[in-house]
């Protein structure tokens, strides 16, 4: 996050505590590899890097906004229907994103059609609303939302990168495996396209992550 250190006046906005809200989900508090949330969408949409990318951006937008809205309303929301309110906010934002994609970047929206709707079912979003936005001010909530969505997005892009590279030999649709490798007998691994390989790829990422950060091993 380059803007973290941009200027002195903004220091209070990016205090040490606020910076951690952004950076923790990328590392030791990652929603996917540590909390193991949002796994289902990782399996479904990481066949290609492009869909992973647009999904990551959409989730950042929805999650940042949803956290802010819930945080602004947090003192008025009746506790008994708070889950319903959260779901309504998320669903409305997702529908809005979907409509905007359809109107302005139709090609991408055609590729993503089902996946955009699936953002509603992403348990990370509601988890953060419930755990953070309901008890915190709008700005920290915004950072928390963006941070967690980015933590989700990073894993999504990593899995998408390897699955498209090994499964189709392309990245963002462009062929990247040189032809002479195919001539030497290299073949795209069709297995990478199937959902089980996403699970195994996520497993490998979790393994690498825990290997590098020993503190995580004892948590679970």
């Amino acid at each position: 996050m380059s803007e973290n250190n941009t200027s002195k006046q903004k220091e209070p906005l990016f205090s040490h505590r606020n910076q951690r809200l952004l950076s923790n989900p990328l590392g030791k508090d990652n929603p996917i590899t540590v909390q193991v949330l949002g796994i289902c969408s990782v399996l479904a949409i990481t066949v290609q890097l492009r869909t992973s990318l647009v999904m990551a951006i959409s989730v950042v937008a929805v999650m940042g906004l949803a956290n802010v809205i819930i945080s602004v309303l947090r003192k008025t929301i009746p506790p008994r229907i708070r889950i319903i309110v959260q779901l309504t906010v998320i669903a409305s934002l997702v529908i809005l994103v979907d409509q905007l994609l359809k109107a302005y970047i139709y090609d991408v929206s055609r590729q993503l059609s089902v996946f955009v709707g699936l953002i509603i079912t992403n348990c990370i979003i509601m988890g953060r609303l419930e755990a953070f936005a309901l008890n915190n001010k709008p700005w920290p909530s915004f950072l928390d939302g963006v941070g967690n969505a980015a933590g989700y997005g990073v894993v999504l892009l990593t899995v998408g990168f390897f699955r498209e590279l090994l499964g189709s030999g392309t990245l963002l649709g462009y062929p990247v495996i040189p032809n002479f490798l195919y001539d030497l007998g290299y073949e795209n691994n069709g297995f990478m396209i199937l959902p089980p390989m996403a699970l195994i790829t996520v497993g490998i990422i979790i393994w690498v992550h825990r290997h590098r950060d020993r503190n995580l091993v004892d948590i679970s």
Binding site: I81, T88, S92, A103, Y106
Partner: protein
């Protein structure tokens, strides 16, 4: 917080959200509808192998598509604007009541007939356009799309590599009998003019394409035969 507050809060929330979303939908509808028209034109032209970007497609469509007409299953012409016919609604009707659109293209003096088809894949509808040469038997090109087939598997029917296999295949055999193109599991026999390779891991979608081609083109069979003999 009292029950009264909870009810009022929920009602107010619903009204606000409803206004917001219906407002957005109304504002964005003209843009979305234009996008859909453009996509439809792109798909129709793609069936006769004319790639068109979103910017140029409206001009190219006017340039190449010389005639559009609606026929019924007996091949008789009906009144109406073929472009506005929604096949989605038509395939729910009895065959006798269906309006079947035909788009006739003139490309450098050669005439092509483009017809829409629609069917079901694994998760939802699949549809496409088939372009026929003027012998009414040879496929000049085909274009398929889908609502929600599995990416990397069934969704490959929207891929050029899959669609290009249909070029040069035939929907009538030597004797003139209707014999649509099948999508076979694995590799199609070499030289078979009525079969193409299926998609590994996308068998149900492949079968959907087979059924769509059979049912969709059969509705036009009498029209095709009429043109062939005239």
């Amino acid at each position: 917080m009292t029950n009264r507050y909870v009810f009022l809060y929920a009602s107010a929330m619903v009204v606000v959200v409803a206004l917001l979303l219906s407002g957005a939908a109304t504002l964005l509808r003209p843009l979305q509808e234009r996008n859909m028209r453009i996509e439809k034109m792109q798909n129709i032209l793609a069936a006769v192998n004319i790639p068109a970007t979103r910017a140029e497609v409206e001009n190219l469509f006017d340039q190449y598509i010389t005639t559009t007409k609606i026929v019924n299953h007996l091949g008789e012409e009906l009144e109406g604007d073929a472009f506005e016919v929604e096949l989605q609604d038509e395939i729910r009707k009895d065959l006798a009541d269906r309006q079947l659109p035909v788009f006739i293209a003139d490309i450098d003096g050669e005439v092509f007939y483009i017809v829409p088809i629609r069917g079901t894949g694994l998760w939802g509808p699949i549809w496409g356009y088939v372009g026929l040469e003027s012998d009414m038997a040879t496929i000049a090109g085909a274009n398929f799309d889908h609502a929600s087939e599995t990416p990397g598997l069934g969704a490959e029917i929207a891929d050029r590599a899959f669609q290009d296999q249909f070029k040069g295949k035939r929907i009538f055999d030597e004797a003139g009998n209707f014999h649509p193109v099948r999508v076979v599991k694995g590799r199609a026999p070499a030289g078979d003019l009525h079969a193409v390779d299926g998609i590994t891991g996308g068998t149900i979608t492949s079968n959907g394409v087979t059924n769509m081609l059979r049912d969709g083109l059969e509705a036009y069979k009498l029209y095709f035969e009429k043109i062939k003999t005239s």
